[in-house]
Subunit: 397 residues, 2 copies
């Protein structure tokens, strides 16, 4: 393929993603929903104009990393430390309630499986797929509404990050029972080492950046070197510690969030993001969707799978939030904010497929879950927040 | 390859490109020179840390397109129309003087070849490789010095664009004499049709954008849709008319250069460009360089090839500029500004290789030419401009 061939795809994706975003905005829906639907229509599901190429996958990867980096930069560190323990609790419930729901759902469809049997692991694995929240869509919606720095926003983002990490550990344990090659304790150890190194290394990097920032404030080198740091941490996290690259990007953002040029970096990052990368990322979610292997019985399973996965997060995260003294409205927001799933669910499914725990059909269910949650979450979040401001207005009047 | 693997390359390229750019700036050299040298050091020529992957090629392609789009947006349309005929003349001399120089050089090395012989076409083809100016490096240097809107700046950019088009036509004619499949008149016709369509279509697009711009000034949709338009025109130019995509991008910029939100678009474009794409483009020039096939006799040929190619542009474009009443200093600037070569020279070589007119060794000579001209042009241009301002200062004193 000649290099210029990518230009056609880029032009089509950018144009339609923006047009659908504008339409979404017109109907008071979040713009990301428009961009995902644009991808759905351009992709194999409807028109089939755009194929998911390596290039689009890579651009989308940069898109989601920029998004998480920006969320990290936008973090209020004090708020994060304050909400940290609660976020950890929410993350735990956000993993275990879906894990159990998925296992129960599997048994409801395919019969009860006794502890330790082959079928039992399949049931547990169905639950494992449901565990990992993908926070990018929620982050984008919260940014759009200007709520990312709020207490609820910080709680959701940090809980989702922790949830991802717990999800990966659970995955390794589940696979570990079937596959003697995988070493769960090693994974656990690596994760702990990563976070310790991130805290120590992050402190050193922050000091170095502070010096750079003081000597050359508002120069291009600051955001460019920051971006290089973000890419490095993302890469190292994924490659050497088995932790999602987006988690690395978020931590890179947190490391730099107290820099005095923080807002300058974020502004530059945001322009790069919304001009090219973010629309490609959101559209690529729609592009991935295809329902070729759907049939009657499996269709019902898919629907139940999606409902169970969404409800498990809302109930699990919502109830524990309420128990942690958030009010009902905020608890619901946290539950809804945690329900989005993304590429991590696909990666987990991939691992389950190669371990022989699930069949390829499952991908359809997972993709449906990603699609539904990606579209529903921003819509519901916006609804919940607009309800809030109405209540506030009537209280004020 | 996993998608996250690209992050390592990105981080390394961004970091070192920026560091070398800062060092270059410290020594009062243009920053692009630093970025090219960073690529040279990271690439197979020195350290061999970074390989030229598809992804980097594609990112670099977007980089050069953003650069040319931005140059187009920065055009003073009145100045362009005024300098148009002179630019055309300069372009003609900028093609034919190198064409003859290359042929003469070939004969000097490999013996005289009578008109119409196999060797004769090889000689002419050597000249053809030397014809196409690649204006991107010059554009970047002029932008860095704030001289792109000047009379000399406009002349160079428009001459280089026309020169590219003439170069492609010459290529088709030269190949056409050997290969009955290629139809030179068709290429000529297509080129004419492209420019007519670009003028008519450009006018319509400008009117549509003016309406959009008036209704929604300073909204993100303006730069995003502009970018989609730029990608579309680049793609259509290359795919359907055989005209370089960067020429399409430049014309897209010219179409929108009188928009009232012009500067807003350019600002957004520039951030996306300098944050990620442009450093990758400049570094990729260095990354491509490798001197594996070099030997004694051919080394001397390479050196002479580079010198002939550079001098031919300076002499050809410089003298005709002087004849068109530019003063000596400006004529020299135009000559130097026209001497950069880029990927078009490689593309032409590729065509010559498949037509059996040159051997693969030639690539080394062409790459050396690209490298030397990419580094020398910005340095000499900066020197010439700084001399100017010194003269101005002493005249003022």
């Amino acid at each position: 393929m000649e290099a210029y061939e990518i230009l056609k795809d880029l032009a089509i994706i950018l144009f339609f993603a923006k047009m659908f975003a504008v339409v979404a905005k017109h109907f008071k829906a979040p713009q990301v929903v428009g961009e995902i639907i644009a991808g759905l229509i351009l992709g194999p599901c409807v028109l089939g104009i755009i194929q998911q190429t390596d290039f689009i996958t890579e651009m989308a990867e940069i898109g989601v990393i920029l998004l998480m980096f920006s969320a990290g930069l936008d973090t209020d560190l004090k708020e994060l430390i304050k909400t940290g323990p609660i976020a950890f609790l929410i993350a735990c419930f956000g993993v275990f309630v879906p894990l159990i729901s998925g296992a129960v759902l599997y048994m409801a469809f395919y019969g009860f499986a006794p502890w330790g049997s082959e079928e039992f692991y399949k049931a547990v694995f169905t639950g494992t797929i449901m565990t990992a929240t993908s926070v990018s869509i929620t982050v984008a919606s919260l940014q759009e509404m200007g709520k990312i720095k709020s207490k609820v926003g910080t709680t959701i983002v940090s809980a989702a990050i922790i949830d991802d990490v717990i999800g990966i550990i659970v995955l390794t344990f589940v696979i570990g029972f079937k596959d003697p090659e995988s070493r769960p304790m090693l994974v656990l150890g690596k994760t702990v080492v990563f976070f310790i190194l991130a805290i120590i290394g992050g402190f050193i990097v922050f000091k170095l950046f502070s010096i750079l920032d003081k000597r050359y404030p508002h120069t291009r080198r600051i955001p460019i070197v920051s971006l290089a740091f973000c890419f490095t941490l993302s890469y190292v996290a994924e490659k050497y510690f088995g932790i999602a690259d987006i988690t690395g990007a978020y931590i890179a953002g947190i490391v730099l969030c107290n820099l005095s040029d923080n807002e300058y970096i974020e502004r530059k990052m945001d322009v790069s993001s919304y001009m090219i990368f973010a629309p490609i990322f959101f559209a690529s979610i729609g592009l991935k969707t295809s329902f070729d292997t759907m049939n009657g019985h499996f269709f019902i399973f898919c629907i139940c799978f999606v409902i169970a996965a969404l409800m498990a997060k809302i109930v699990g995260c919502g109830l524990i939030s309420r128990a942690c003294r958030y009010n009902w409205a905020d608890s619901l927001k946290i539950g809804v904010g945690m329900m989005t799933r993304g590429e991590v669910a696909l990666i987990i499914s991939q691992k389950g497929l190669s371990a022989g725990l699930i069949s390829a059909d499952y991908f359809t269910a997972v993709i449906l879950l990603i699609l539904v949650s990606s579209i529903a979450t921003p819509l519901i979040l916006k609804l919940l927040y607009s309800k809030d401001s109405k209540n506030l207005e009537s209280a004020g009047a």
